[in-house]
């Protein structure tokens, strides 16, 4: 009977507390969670936005009109939109063909190549920026190679600067970091399309390209939009990359500089509002244009996808295609590792003298060592919080009928749409000098706000991961346990938890990994050196002007990558293909 699942949920969730109507305990828990999220997520943003509309104690559009008539600020806004649009477009152009090849064909090594594509996610682009410069700049490694094989002449002045500076450099670094998100979304969307849909089109006379254009693409449109949104907002509000590349002509950088000051002008808060409303406007516009009426995922595939086995030539072509992208995307990582272990790397393709000095240095010197420990603490605490809250929220959403369930779901997913920069600004605003919460502010001890910020930002991953797991456990399996005499708790521990353990662990691992190398919150909310997390320490080193700065920053980056790579490998092993589900908006 089709309707069975609808009412299945009712009794079990009721089981959390009272007998009917969702249960008192379930409702209380849901209410509590909602209040917590309102306080940690909505309140700070509300405070920061309100701050921008106060002028001399009165509600006013003074600051907003001030901001919108300031040519420099408007120019920065436009730059940011252009930057995000360019990055998103290029990511799509790279990711979609890869996803099509991966889902439509099978070939030797497809799994490995697909996994390698995700590696770029583990390094914030701003860490790779320095090494990219080393490789792609006028006097960089690439040009040395081209010189060696005789493509470039000996005249240094004629050599191209591949990375360029400013805008293109930011785009390149962002694209190399972010295209895997679109790849995952596109793959997942393609996998959800019933193969019969395009087969029917082929059957009725459409060629492969036409079938893709007319049938498949419309069906995966909302999936692409979801991934595109994440990339767009990420790029639009990215602080780290423009900061390191030295492209200051975007709002996030201006905001970062203003938020780091002790006294914060209302104009700063107005800029937060401008940034947020631009992001929301772009999201709504995108949703309106791309995200509507997609039926993908509405129905289960009626038949299994038949992947075509590629012959030797096809396999080679696929390898070249994936290989090129992987090599490009891993360049910053290779560069970071080489920089970290090079004693001398001037005018040569690879370092001429190697050393482990920097790798040892960063774990022996207090400030860098401290930053690693700080990051472990922040990330660890926030991961535990996320798992606890995420599991409860997912349970309430999937298995209960409490009031306000949809609202709670929306709140849990909201951080995906709220950039870290804006949330960080909110925390700055509520802990600003002279406020009641000053003692947990960035200038005093930011442990609490950093942990809360990390937790809030990564909560969607956990909720999504656990929700996906719970949805795959038929309620009948839990009911069967109750029916055979297990208590409510017994069912959770003996049946539900073991079945979704992989999801919980994977979501936790990812949360931890992202928190370890989080950028925006870390740069803004940690203002005292002894509280710096890894990323802020890397930023400090890189902007110190020190001779060894690049090497020390890179050495820290290497440790970050090792931690992240390891955790990603665990997550991938646990979740398999479902890993992609976590990145979907």
């Amino acid at each position: 009977m089709k309707g069975t699942n609808d009412f299945d949920t009712h009794r079990l969730a009721g089981g959390m507390g009272g007998h009917r109507g969702g249960g008192i305990l379930a409702n209380l828990t849901g209410g509590g969670l909602t209040l917590m999220l309102l306080a940690a997520l909505v309140l700070p943003i509300a405070v920061v936005i309100a701050g921008g509309f106060l002028h001399e104690g009165k509600v006013s559009f003074y600051w907003l009109s001030h901001a919108l008539t300031n040519r420099i600020l408007v120019g920065q806004l436009v730059n940011g939109l252009a930057l995000a649009a360019t990055t998103t477009l290029i990511c799509m152009l790279i990711a979609i063909p890869l996803a099509i090849v991966r889902t439509r064909f099978s070939f030797r090594g497809a799994g490995i190549l697909s996994a390698l594509l995700l590696v770029p996610l583990i390094l914030p682009p701003f860490v790779g920026a320095l090494s990219m410069r080393k490789i792609l700049a006028q006097g960089g490694v690439l040009n040395r190679i081209l010189l060696d094989i005789g493509i470039l002449g000996p005249r240094f002045q004629d050599w191209p600067d591949w990375l360029g500076s400013g805008f293109p450099a930011v785009v390149v670094l962002q694209v190399l970091h972010l295209f895997p998100i679109l790849y995952l979304n596109a793959s997942a969307a393609l996998a959800n399309v019933d193969p019969a849909a395009s087969q029917a089109a082929r059957n009725l006379g459409a060629g492969p390209l036409r079938a893709f254009w007319k049938i498949t693409l419309p069906l995966i449109r909302s999936g692409l939009f979801a991934g595109g949104t994440i990339v767009f907002i990420w790029a639009f509000t990215d602080i780290g990359t423009p900061l390191i590349v030295g492209f200051d002509e975007v709002l996030p950088v201006t905001l970062f500089q203003r938020l780091s000051q002790e006294d914060i002008s209302p104009l700063t808060y107005t800029l937060v509002f401008v940034l947020l409303s631009s992001a929301v406007a772009m999201y709504v516009l995108g949703k309106f244009v791309f995200g509507r009426n997609s039926a993908a995922g509405a129905s289960k595939a009626s038949i299994a996808e038949e992947t075509r086995r590629l012959g030797p030539a096809g396999t080679l072509a696929a390898w070249v295609m994936f290989g090129t992208v992987i090599c490009l995307a891993l360049t910053p990582h290779v560069g970071v590792v080489l920089t970290a272990v090079s004693k001398r790397w001037v005018n040569t393709i690879v370092p001429s003298v190697f050393t482990t000095e920097y790798l040892r240095f960063v774990i022996t010197r207090p400030s860098t060592y401290n930053s690693i420990i700080n990051s472990l603490m922040y990330a660890g605490t926030s991961t535990l919080i996320d798992i606890a809250i995420g599991c409860v929220a997912a349970w309430l959403m999937v298995r209960s009928k409490i009031r306000g369930r949809t609202f709670l779901d929306g709140l849990c997913m909201l951080p995906l749409a709220v950039p870290g920069l804006i949330l960080a600004a909110g925390y700055v605003a509520i802990t600003v000098k002279g406020s009641a919460l000053e003692s947990i502010g960035p200038m005093r001890n930011p442990f609490i706000i950093l942990v809360v910020a990390y937790s809030v930002r990564r909560l969607p991953f956990v909720v999504r991961g656990v929700t996906a797991g719970l949805q795959q456990v038929p309620v009948a399996m839990e009911e069967a346990g109750r029916n055979l005499g297990a208590s409510k708790a017994g069912v959770i521990f003996r049946i539900t938890a073991p079945l979704i353990a992989a999801n919980i662990i994977a979501a936790g691992v990812l949360t931890f990994a992202f928190a370890m190398l989080e950028v925006s919150d870390s740069l803004i909310l940690a203002q005292l050196e002894n509280h710096y997390p890894i990323t802020k320490e890397i930023y400090k080193q890189m902007s110190s002007g020190n001779v060894d700065a690049a090497a020390i920053a890179s050495a820290l980056g290497v440790y970050g990558m090792l931690l992240l790579g390891g955790t990603f490998a665990i997550a991938g092993a646990l979740m398999g293909k479902r890993l992609g589900a976590i990145f979907r908006a």
Partner: protein, 371 residues
């Protein structure tokens, strides 16, 4: 084994006036200890909801559930000691077959040795002993079905509940399992309630059955009773093919010397006069609906003479449909009625369309339904 009693069970889904739907509408019935009882009805008739109410997985909006002598309406699921075989089996994929089957005894606090023994016994009962160490997803549908049954039986429930347990099997296996399942269930002596929408399943397996429609129980009885004496047109239709014609009960014919003594009444219908066993509570002049099963009509090429218990109708063959063991004729009767007549298909040829035929219908084969 325990008696199951349902008193005035009502279940309304959704609250508020707009979205609410009555799934179970004031159902009362008693299932005797050891009985294999069927709830039969179309999708959405409330039969699964009723089963879940017995199990305690759904709370009734009103009414009482009694198991044995105990009112269990407010009792939590896990304390009812009913064992449900789920439609999709709900075998736990992270446990082996043995762990699945041991779960019930484990929850009841049975010591390890007892658990093991009971699992072994029940796996043997369903002939799945060799598969004890496999995971459920390594088994075929039929095997999973057996494990689901073994898991339920190992819990030694007061009553066994089965929710369309054969619906996920292919047709041949389903036929085989009907007999098998009845044998297994009856061998345990447990009171069992079986939900299905397949009338053949119910007719061939049930001790007694309740036919449900729109949340209500329409008729309760043994399979033969329900099939032969359906209470309503819905029941007659749902349990198999039937020909219907409206009619009026005629006044008793004057008792002439040559008229045989009979309990049959005459019913005037547009297709001719039918004879039927006298219905209770309906006198001459009542409007009724006559129901005749296709296989109960005798079709002959020669004209026949009536006697006191058999009605004779004239018809013309319109079409014949070959069904393997049976042949079905569609026959035109007066006033544009078309009846289905089923005969065992022998080796002879079908009667060609257009042939005039005679239909003989015995009084005991005509069921009188409310008009």
């Amino acid at each position: 084994m325990k008696r199951i009693r349902l008193d005035n069970i009502v279940k309304v889904f959704g609250s508020g006036s707009k979205a609410s739907a009555i799934a179970v509408d004031n159902v009362s019935l008693t299932i005797e200890p050891g009985e294999f009882f069927f709830l039969l009805g179309p999708s959405g008739c409330g039969k699964t909801t009723l089963l879940r109410i017995i199990a305690g997985l759904t709370d009734p909006t009103a009414g009482h559930v009694t198991l044995g002598d105990r009112d269990v309406t407010r009792l939590a699921v896990e304390q009812r000691n009913t064992a449900l075989v789920f439609q999709n089996y709900a075998l736990w994929p992270h446990m082996t077959v043995r762990q699945n089957v041991e779960f019930g005894p484990r929850m009841r606090g049975a010591p390890a040795a007892t658990r093991k023994q009971r699992a072994a016994d029940n796996l043997e009962r369903v002939e799945m002993t060799d598969y004890a160490d496999r995971k459920p997803n390594q088994l075929s549908g039929g095997q999973q079905q057996r494990i689901a049954l073994a898991r339920a039986l190992a819990a030694q429930p007061d009553c066994l509940l089965l929710d369309e347990p054969l619906s996920n099997l292919d047709a041949r296996l389903r036929l085989h399992m009907r007999h098998e399942l009845r044998r297994l269930v009856k061998s345990t002596g447990t009171t069992a309630v079986y939900v299905t929408h397949d009338q053949k399943e119910a007719l061939s397996m049930a001790d007694r059955m309740a036919v449900m429609n729109d949340g209500k129980v329409v008729q309760i009885g043994r399979p033969e009773e329900v099939y032969n004496r359906p209470a309503t047109k819905f029941v007659a239709d749902f349990l198999g093919e039937a020909n219907f014609t409206p009619g009026i009960i005629a006044a008793p014919s004057p008792q002439g010397a040559d008229a045989p003594a009979t309990a049959a009444v005459r019913v005037e219908t547009p297709v001719g006069e039918l004879l039927a066993a006298a219905p209770a509570g309906r006198g001459p002049g009542s409007d009724v609906l006559c129901c005749v099963r296709p296989e109960r009509v005798r079709l002959t090429l020669q004209p026949a003479r009536t006697d006191g218990n058999v009605a004779i109708l004239q018809a013309t063959v319109a079409e014949s449909i070959y069904l393997g063991e049976m042949r079905q004729y569609l026959c035109d009767l007066p006033s544009r009625q078309q009846w289905k007549i089923s005969v065992l298909a022998g080796s002879e040829k079908a009667i060609p369309a257009g042939t005039k035929v005679t239909l003989q219908i015995a009084a005991q084969d005509v069921a009188i339904l409310p008009a």
